[in-house]
């Protein structure tokens, strides 16, 4: 090749590069750029991105409505949600499972038994007369009833919330409440009181877009949190550090910005913050009124002083703002963005709405690394799919809690005090496969074989019932295992009570007393959806599904395989359309938004 022609080639390459850069969307320079986008930059794709992140996505009509506004109006319509009427959102319908005498609920079966031995009664139930066989059985039965009934009520609570996420006219309110639920993680598995979980959920929703201070005060006086972090046990003589530590590490500042001494002094300031079951109580007899030094401030500090001291720290604004950024924008937050968002958050009195408005309007939010790069959390995955389908009522076949739980997220039961780690941690080979399978049970729901988890007894207890029905006595009916394992030997032990029998009995009692979750399959017509979209060929149907459900273009190979799959099938064949949609929702691309 001659020198000249080589030079020409190089020149051509350079020219084509320049052309490519000029034609590309200007989003590279938007990375980390917090200035607002303009109306000229606003379009349906960006409106869809906003709705996916600040809400749970929506139908093409929902997106078109947002796209018709200016970006400022669109963001305000989501952020200023108090202005939106939400009259259809119903309160939780309690079954009424909690009897007098069940408060305070004993921390363990052994503790209930101890109480019963000392007082002759516990949980509002009397022991049988001295000398009766298994004289404590009714108490242990009641204890397990309490556990099971509460667990069913918590499942019902999860369905109630999911339903609210689906139907609310204020999607950001629920998205934020979900964020705070993960941030101030509290789990019913430990709290064991759905009433507390409900009250916490309402408190978080009430304060979701207010100020960080209101949220902190609310959560630190919240009975569920006080129980979850054992602060009822935080007393002057023996401060319990759990509360003080998680407040600093997980709720406000993050590790590295305080000392072990701050943890201990903070714990002292929260001594005596406790609860009378459902109400916060300040127990001045257990509060340490002495002087404390916390983050450089000295005095007879109490819990509120600790909160206010924490709020003076730069680290607090940055920590919380960065966490909101990771939840709404993308996993990696740059140091400059973190510092700037943190500074303005703190300077603005920790008002959450202006922070969100700034994030949702920023060029950074619409820049390439922020778009379609986030892995949907299980709850968002399911709710947003239902919204995109246009459903108006939450399907309960399959069960919502089971769907998301299998993927690692159960409402009211985060894995630990740090909440859900999110991002790529949602994905393992097994959960990704389950995500691919997920909507099969929605699109091909089978009400006949469906087994409602709120009426499901584990096999080991169901066997007890079967054995009793065969005429075995309680001792025979509750035998399990070979006896090698100490734990099986202990449970079979049959003295003042039989634990395995009580567990079985507790389930039966709980099934009687809790309202069943109404079961219904998705009210969905893909035939109508496709007709309304005027899609009249296999290509058009695939394209409509892809556009409606996916946040990234369908790769060409997948698209043609899907088209091939649907070719020759009828546009009025609901079942064929569902088979096709299942394929689209199974694509790895469906996991991102």
């Amino acid at each position: 090749m001659s020198r000249v022609s080589r030079r020409l080639l190089v020149l051509a390459a350079v020219t084509s590069c320049v052309v490519t850069i000029a034609a590309a969307p200007p989003t590279t320079s938007w990375v980390d750029n917090l200035s607002p986008i303009t109306a000229a930059d606003w379009n349906a794709e960006r409106a869809a991105h906003l709705l996916a992140r600040a809400g749970f996505g929506g139908t093409p009509d929902d997106i078109a409505r947002l796209a018709a506004m200016t970006p400022q109006q669109a963001v305000a319509s989501l952020v200023e949600y108090e202005r939106v009427d939400n009259g259809r959102a119903l309160p939780f319908d309690e079954s009424g499972v909690w009897d007098r005498g069940m408060d305070p609920f004993p921390p363990s079966r052994a503790d209930a038994v101890r109480q019963a031995r000392e007082r002759g009664e516990a949980l509002g139930v009397k022991a049988l007369p001295e000398g009766s066989p298994r004289r404590l059985q009714p108490i242990v039965d009641k204890f397990f009833y309490g556990l099971r009934a509460n667990s069913i009520e918590t499942q019902r609570l999860g369905v109630w919330w999911a339903s609210r996420m689906l139907t609310t006219t204020r999607p950001l309110e629920e998205r934020l409440t979900l964020f705070w639920h993960g941030h101030f993680a509290t789990g019913d598995a430990k709290v064991r009181d759905y009433r507390m979980m409900l009250r916490q959920n309402e408190m978080l929703r009430r304060n979701a877009s207010g100020t960080l201070r209101a949220l902190l005060v609310g959560i630190l006086k919240d009975p569920a949190m006080l129980v979850y972090l054992d602060n009822g046990e935080n007393v002057k003589a023996h401060p319990n550090e759990n509360f003080g530590r998680e407040l600093l590490e997980l709720f406000t500042m993050g590790v590295g910005h305080y000392t072990e001494r701050d943890v201990r002094e903070g714990a002292r300031a929260f001594t005596g913050w406790t609860n009378d079951v459902l109400a916060f109580r300040f127990d001045d007899a257990q509060h340490d009124f002495g002087g404390k030094t916390f983050l450089g401030r000295t005095g007879p500090l109490d819990g509120t002083d600790i909160i206010d001291t924490i709020l003076t720290q730069d680290a607090t604004g940055e920590f919380v703002a960065a966490k909101l950024y990771r939840y709404f924008v993308r996993d990696d937050v740059s140091p400059t963005v973190k510092a700037e968002l943190g500074r303005s958050f703190r300077a603005g009195g920790y008002q959450i709405k202006p922070l969100l408005t700034r994030m949702f309007l920023s060029k950074d939010f619409y820049s390439q690394p922020s778009v379609a790069t986030q892995i949907k959390s299980p709850v968002v995955l399911v709710v947003s799919t239902y919204r995109k389908m246009g459903l108006r009522e939450l399907p309960t076949i399959p069960d919502f809690g089971r769907l998301t739980g299998a993927l690692g997220q159960t409402l009211f039961d985060p894995p630990n005090v740090a909440g859900w780690a999110g991002g790529r941690t949602w994905i393992t080979p097994a959960t990704l496969m389950q995500r691919g399978n997920l909507f099969r049970d929605v699109l091909f729901a089978d009400a006949k074989t469906f087994r409602a988890p709120d009426r499901l007894m584990p096999a080991t207890y169901a066997r007890v019932g079967d054995n009793l029905a065969k005429g075995m006595n309680v001792t025979e009916a509750t035998k399990e295992g070979t006896g090698d394992a100490e734990s099986n030997a202990q449970v079979d032990r049959d003295e003042d009570y039989n634990t395995r029998y009580a567990s079985y009995k507790g389930y039966l009692m709980a099934f009687e007393r809790t309202k069943p979750i109404p079961r219904r399959v998705a009210d969905l017509s893909l035939v109508s959806m496709i007709a309304a979209a005027h899609a009249s060929t296999a290509d058009a149907v695939v394209d409509h599904f892809a556009k409606r459900f996916l946040s990234v273009p369908l790769p060409a190979a997948e698209r043609s395989a899907f088209v091939e799959f649907f070719k020759g099938k009828s546009l009025t064949d609901e079942s064929a359309l569902r088979e096709l949609l299942y394929l689209v929702l199974s694509a790895p691309e469906y996991q991102v938004n």
Binding site: V417, T428, N437
Partner: protein, 421 residues
């Protein structure tokens, strides 16, 4: 980058490192990788290619003092007047130490010569945060921002990344301990759900596109999609084997009623029985269960009972399978707890704690290792660690798995304990 190879090959190259694969046909590049790995190690690739290490994590910070109880030390009873385990109840294995009364399984393992206990394991400048401390144990590099897990690095250095599933992590999410640069650990919880569902027609389409076929066109700029595609491929390749191995597994051994933990160990036994080539298994006791701040007596007893039942059963089970010679178990927690009990009949976050090693009688040298930490010479109420936990890691790496360069994996030199024969 233009690539005429299939999407799958493209992905494989990305995963295995561009330096090895680029420009060579796949079979050649694999050979090269194997030769390179062999050359780096100097000698034959494996001293003990059949050996398996199972790592067990007790999350939440297990109370070591109420697990391996220093019943001969009056200071223990002074610090724990209400929650200390009375000497008469302790399952004594020496004049000074014994196990919590619910750990019948451990007592038996110890007396059978299948168990080693390492006193006072921890690290300098301990963190009392669950998450920080656990991440230090996971990475094996305390107080640093190491991105990979120690088992992940071990696999990177010694196990062939072209051979799938060298690491299996039973759980709902991947542990940092197994995060690797070259390996894609197989993570699953419930094997029965580990499969692709659909009609035959659908599966055919999905096998063609959805599973394991990353889209080179649109994804090169989107690392999330690349990650999803790589994970999908791993799932598609492994799920059938895992599911069949697990569902077909029957054992007469009683794992107890501990649920997830015993179930996890039983899944490991099933995979070993099925001949899975995995060398490193990771199982955790989930949910921060051992975080016993309050009223810990009953709940801690139950946790320890489930743990001891499950470990004892697992060792019996692999012995029954004829693989007892090849399997060792190591168990840890992210920290022990404060020496003094708190006001709530519980214990707060602390520092050092015991670690445990298990194996067949003539493979492991049973007994106690390390110096027990003093219960009176404390650091702000906490035990001063006496054995860096990485010595136990080094012991597993070198004495058990047979890899001498522990300092490379652990990023520092740590003497082994002489706990394996």
């Amino acid at each position: 980058m233009s690539c005429s190879c299939s999407r799958r090959e493209f992905l494989a190259r990305g995963l295995y490192g561009i330096g090895v694969g680029s420009g060579l046909p796949m079979f050649l590049s694999r050979t090269t990788a194997a030769l390179t790995a062999q050359a780096l190690q100097g000698t034959s690739m494996e001293k003990h290619p059949e050996r398996i290490l199972v790592v067990l994590e007790l999350s939440g910070g297990n109370d070591g003092l109420n697990t391996v109880v220093p019943h001969g030390d009056p200071a223990y009873y002074r610090a724990r007047p209400r929650i200390g385990i009375p000497a008469k109840d302790v399952l004594k294995v020496s004049d000074t130490f014994g196990f919590h009364p619910s750990m019948v399984g451990f007592e038996r393992l110890y007396k059978d010569g299948r168990m080693a206990v390492v006193h006072g394991c921890g690290y300098d400048h301990p963190s009392l945060s669950h998450f920080s401390s656990m991440s230090y144990w996971h990475t094996g590099v305390p107080n640093a921002g190491e991105p990979l897990g120690w088992l992940g690095r071990l696999a990177d250095d010694h196990l062939d990344p072209h051979s799938r599933n060298q690491i299996v992590n039973i759980g709902t999410s991947q542990s940092l301990a197994v995060r690797s640069a070259k390996h894609s650990p197989l993570v699953f919880d419930d094997p029965s759900r580990f499969r692709r569902e659909g009609t035959d027609d659908q599966k055919r389409v999905l096998a063609h596109v959805g599973d394991g076929a990353p889209s080179t066109s649109s994804t090169s700029a989107n690392s999330t999609l690349d990650f999803l595609s790589a994970t999908a491929r791993n799932a598609a390749d492994s799920s059938d084997f895992v599911r069949q191995a697990s569902s077909g597994y029957r054992t007469p051994v009683d794992y107890g009623i501990g649920g997830a933990f015993g179930g996890g160990l039983q899944r490991v036994a099933a995979l070993i029985a099925a001949g899975m080539k995995t060398r490193l298994y990771y199982v955790n006791y989930p949910g921060n269960a051992f975080d016993t701040h309050v009223q810990q007596g009953d709940v801690h007893a139950r946790l320890l009972m489930y743990t001891a039942d499950a470990v004892r059963a697992f060792l019996d089970d692999v012995a029954r399978l004829g693989r007892g010679d090849d399997v060792a178990v190591m168990m840890f927690t992210e920290f022990g707890r404060r020496v003094e009990e708190n006001g709530s009949l519980g214990t707060d976050h602390g520092t050092a704690g015991p670690m445990f090693l298990f194996g067949k009688q003539d493979r492991i040298k049973a007994g106690f290792y390390g110096r027990p930490p003093s219960l009176t010479d404390l650091d702000d109420g906490n035990l001063k660690m006496t054995t860096d936990f990485r010595r136990v890691y080094a012991t597993a790496i070198k004495e058990w798995l047979g890899y001498d360069d522990t300092d490379v994996v652990l990023k520092g030199r740590f003497d082994t304990l002489g706990a394996f024969a």
